[in-house]
């Protein structure tokens, strides 16, 4: 089951560039939360702060408090432990090209030394079913490489890979922006199903997508969070003029 995320006074920098300024919000457990905003507004940086991927860049820096469930991720744990609990799906599908489909899904578990063969088989099957890919790949799980799939299938494979480690939170950084409309709608259906079991945070440029999949939506602009409300309110009756300008297409 997913857990909620509590963010207090989060600030992030790339070098001297102050990319996130005083972010405060509470992301509810077992719901999908969408983050929208123009390019460069800091929404990707924000999700990367939630699993401490931001700091893998040597010039990056973070201050503030992020609580995932009970865990204060910046003081109570090492990045490795957090990333085992917080899955991430990236903008471009990045399956491991040298591994079979099966090994791609099992990668996270094998990495951590999970060796029970039979339960591994079950987990791989369940993860692929959860990511709606099982029917398409079940016959060549170990025969085909992860790179031999189509772009949309690859992204669902990446989702299966993230689900296999049974994360409490699933971060998705524009998961459908490199995909065609059919694949995109499959991914959206998937998010819709998954949000009952996982806390999902999805960054998107597509406002219809946010409206379709998310209960809550945050609008980011220039490194600040302008508004964080129920998706319905953001798209029908935003309280901030800038949010309204953005969603009606007046800038960005």
């Amino acid at each position: 089951m997913g857990v909620g995320i509590e963010v207090q006074n989060l600030n992030a920098w790339y070098g001297n560039n102050h990319t996130l300024q005083d972010i405060n919000l509470n992301i509810p457990a077992n719901h999908a939360t969408a983050l929208i905003g123009p390019s460069g507004c800091g929404k990707s940086t924000f999700v990367r702060c939630l699993n401490r991927m931001h700091e893998t860049n040597p010039i990056a820096r973070v201050t503030g408090v992020v609580r995932i469930g009970e865990l204060d991720i910046y003081s109570d744990a090492k990045p490795v432990e957090i990333r085992r609990r917080v899955g991430m799906v990236f903008q471009r599908p990045n399956p491991f090209p040298t591994m079979s489909i099966y090994d791609n899904v099992a990668a996270g578990l094998k990495l951590n030394g999970y060796a029970n063969k039979r339960s591994l088989d079950e987990i791989v099957e369940r993860s692929l079913k959860n990511s709606a890919l099982w029917e398409e790949v079940k016959d060549d799980l170990k025969k085909k490489s992860g790179a031999s799939l189509s772009g949309g299938q690859q992204q669902r494979l990446c989702i299966a890979r993230a689900l296999a480690v049974d994360p409490e939170v699933l971060l998705m950084d524009e998961p459908a922006s490199a995909l065609d409309p059919v694949s995109t709608s499959k991914i959206e259906d998937l998010i819709f199903q998954l949000k009952s079991q996982y806390t999902i945070v999805i960054v998107t440029h597509n406002m219809q997508q946010a409206a379709r999949v998310a209960e809550k939506t945050g609008f980011f602009l220039n490194g600040r969070m302008v508004e964080f409300e129920s998706t319905h309110k953001i798209f029908t009756n935003p309280s901030d003029k800038r949010t309204e300008d953005y969603i009606t297409g007046r800038f960005g």
């Binding site: 432990e81 990045n94 040298t98 990495l111």
Partner: protein, 365 residues
Amino acid sequence: MHVEVKVPEIRLRQAQTQPEGRSGSEKNPAQAPRDGHSPVRRFLLSRGNSAVADRGFHWLMVLCALSIFGIVALIVWELLKGSHLAWTSFHFEFFYKSYTNTFDGQTSYWDPVNGQFSAVPFIYGTLVSSFLALMIAVPLAVGVAIFLTEMCPRMLRGPLAFLTELLAAIPSIVYGLWAVFELVPLLRVHVNPLLTQYLGWTGLFKDDNPTGLGFVAAAVILAIMILPIISSLTREVMTAVPHSQREAVLALGATRWEMIRMGVLRNARIGIVGGIILGLGRALGETMAVTMVIGNTPEIHKSLLSNGTSMASVLANEFAEAVSDLHRSALIEIGLALFIVTIIVNALAQLLVWAVTRGAPAEAH
């Protein structure tokens, strides 16, 4: 030309934003026709179609490519012609025969005075010293490459990479001199006794050679010589692994080493194999440094600390002083054999690369 073409656009825009200003087109070279053509158009029209130059270039390049075939053919022809006498005397026996010395009953392979010639110890020496060199150089080179691409502070990266490349620029003879005066004494006094003590049970290390020369010395110097080529190729392919692969592994909760193993080395392995092959190619043919430290004894011993010889070093040692036509011909046949061994190694390497490439979904282990 791009600049010339862009100018009118910019001026036009200025003209639009300042309607009261001078008309942009009057001063615009590309839009001021004298004879119906702009200067750019006039210039391009005055150029021919360059067909002659293009065809000349084509044939020049064909000639360059064909010269490779010519050179290889000449080498093979010369080797075949020179080794004809030895070939007619020994046929395939040259590659497996051993002789019994009538004087002391010992096995011998190479006795120019008695006209007994066999390539066995030379092929053995070349292969053993080269593969031993790979065993030392590959882990070291991959380690250097990992450090340089994944963990090295930016400040140190340039100098360290430069030093590694510098190793490749040192002439073979200089390596040989250094090996004779520094490496061999070091091995003799400190390393060989340890090898004998701890690995003597394998039978591969027997400290009965007081000189310190031999396969181990040759392999160490070869390893140093092929280190830069393997490490720079490995570094290159590791740098080419997309950042997204590293992030994918990190996001699964991998430590740095796990990230390197799964996200980088795994993806770069074909290139690494390629680098190892290039290194092996260099090790097989390396002559000078090996000749100076391998001991130059055409014998085969199980111990890697004993003196040996290699195909390239016997050529370097004996060719100028061959005692007979048959001796010279046998040496040329060794040259031919070296040529063939190199081709076989490269073919095997190609097969390996091919196998690695097509076996992409490797079974888990």
